[in-house]
Amino acid sequence: MGTPESTTSGRTLRARAAGLTDQPLTLLTVGVFWTWLVVRWTNDFLLDGALIERNTSFFPVGPFEAAAATLGALAASLGPVGFPVGWLAGFFEFLAASIPYLPQLATGVWATILLTVLGIALGFLIAVPLSVARVYGGSATRLLALGYTELFRGTPLLAQLFVLYFATPLTTIIRELPAVGTGFIPAQAFWVAVIAFMLNSAAYQSEYIRSALNSVPEGQLTAARAIGLSKVDGIRHVVLPQGLRYAIPGWSNELVYLIKYSSLASFITVRELFERTDAIASETYRYTELFVLAGLLYLALVISASLVMEYVEDRVAIPGLGTTSR
């Protein structure tokens, strides 16, 4: 325990859990992905298309098409053994086909990220008191918290989005707020989606945090109370700092879930990544290419999130806490 050996074994455990995220190739890809995104956003949002016109890709299609054609011809000339070259040709064809759509998709990625980050962060603020109520609350608060989680976990997110958007006056209220829908600030549908994700993911997050709180040994709170801390202070200064660390792996899962489920916001017209993909696909009928492309972008987001969470977990790691047996 706590020897250098145990720290390294903790690290290998985590790397194993993350799967691909420890490979240099993955890191490189993620780096390229983010560089592209940041340059794109800066150009489109901040510089008003100063570097390159909006909706025009940074990358020319020509060379990729040429490469695909050459490789295709090469594959054909190689006959039956040419199939790896053929695959490569297909890959370049795919790239050439994808390039024109990249700018629009980058805008969609921005909305997806914003939705996810706001949803999970605001949800977290609800989830912590909710889980504390579940673990330490009296019977009434416990029941209330249980009711909340069961309700939001038991019904489809799609239905929650629908009810909030079409059946409550939420859109009217948000619409009337100053600045909504102007300039940088997205319109009401986006905010309704954020509220839905907040409410929904709070329920899931609270479950992860609850089980993490339960895994903090009871003796910790007893010891806190024994030095004169009140129950609330004991929870705040002793149980939560440990429980939240235990909760990181589960919480990371929820983050990944939310990245992907944010695609449901397209249902209420939010123009996030899936909605953009779908819109282009229904215009061009290039379903396969576009959804593979969207899948890759989501995957890049998910892997980035895992990397960030791994880093966070590492940064807040304390010898002997959470790294063993999980």
Binding site: Q220, I227, G228, S230, H237, I318
Partner: protein
């Protein structure tokens, strides 16, 4: 200093303490022994009200501390506790463990708290380990941090619940040593422990608890050499089976 007067405690149907009464003076070191489940831990926990009693009274320095209007957090500042499993705050360093109470309960500023924290760590011989996390400490070191944490609140009375029984045999010595030092400094202690060496050499009185009742209570020489109750003798002999001929 501390007085238990006819204390009763039950968990549901189960009667755990049935009329426990004893007194100890400032500077006393009383050692409680007894079979597993006899209520030793429960008795300690009643004294700092980690557990509420069902009958009787407990007095600390003449004040009844089992009144409904006693401020338990105030009480617990005066009664320190050291646990069998240490229960160190796993997310804090040794120093953090010692200073948390100072800062959040005594509202000290960080610098003063740390200064005092270092003093108490020195008292238990752990100045070098101030920045180590619990998982990086040996059992004996953990328990000494636990003692320093309790001492930091400057309590009138220290409670120990089997402070050495989770330790490797050769680490027991270092903790017993610290406890002996505290006894020599005149700190009042109520200790649940089966470390006979410590009991014989440092205890003012031994209290033998069985089935929620005090069966025998007296100075170590008398209780060990010449137990009055049959049950005391029987228990002591069972304790020594494994160590016989030693």
């Amino acid at each position: 200093m501390l007085e238990l007067d006819d204390v009763y405690k039950s968990y549901g149907e189960e009667q755990v303490l049935s009329g426990v009464s004893f007194e100890m003076d400032a500077g006393d070191v009383d050692v409680v022994i007894g079979p597993s489940g006899s209520g030793k831990s429960t008795m300690l926990r009643c004294v700092n009200r980690l557990t509420e009693i069902n009958g009787g009274d407990i007095y600390l320095d003449g004040d009844c501390i089992t009144d409904a209007d006693t401020d338990v957090n105030e009480l617990r500042k005066q009664v320190g506790m050291v646990f069998q499993d240490f229960n160190l705050f796993a997310h804090l360093t040794a120093l953090g463990n010692v200073t948390l109470g100072l800062r959040k309960v005594r509202d000290m500023d960080k610098a003063t708290a740390q200064e005092q924290g270092y003093e108490h760590l020195e008292q238990v011989g752990l100045l070098d380990q101030a920045d180590s996390y619990p998982a990086e400490l040996s059992g004996g070191q953990k328990q000494r941090v636990g003692i320093a944490r309790a001492l930091a609140m400057d309590p009138k009375l220290l409670l120990f619940d089997e402070p050495t029984s989770a330790l490797d045999p050769e680490l027991v010595g270092e903790v017993v040593e610290v406890m002996r030092d505290l006894a020599a400094e005149g700190i009042t202690m109520l200790v649940v422990s089966h470390e006979m060496g410590f009991a014989r050499s440092a205890a003012s009185d031994i209290i033998f608890l069985d089935d929620g009742q005090i069966v025998e209570h007296g100075p170590p020489e008398q209780l060990f050499e010449n137990p009055q109750a049959a049950r005391t003798g029987e228990f002591l002999s069972r304790l020594e089976t494994a160590h016989e001929e030693e």
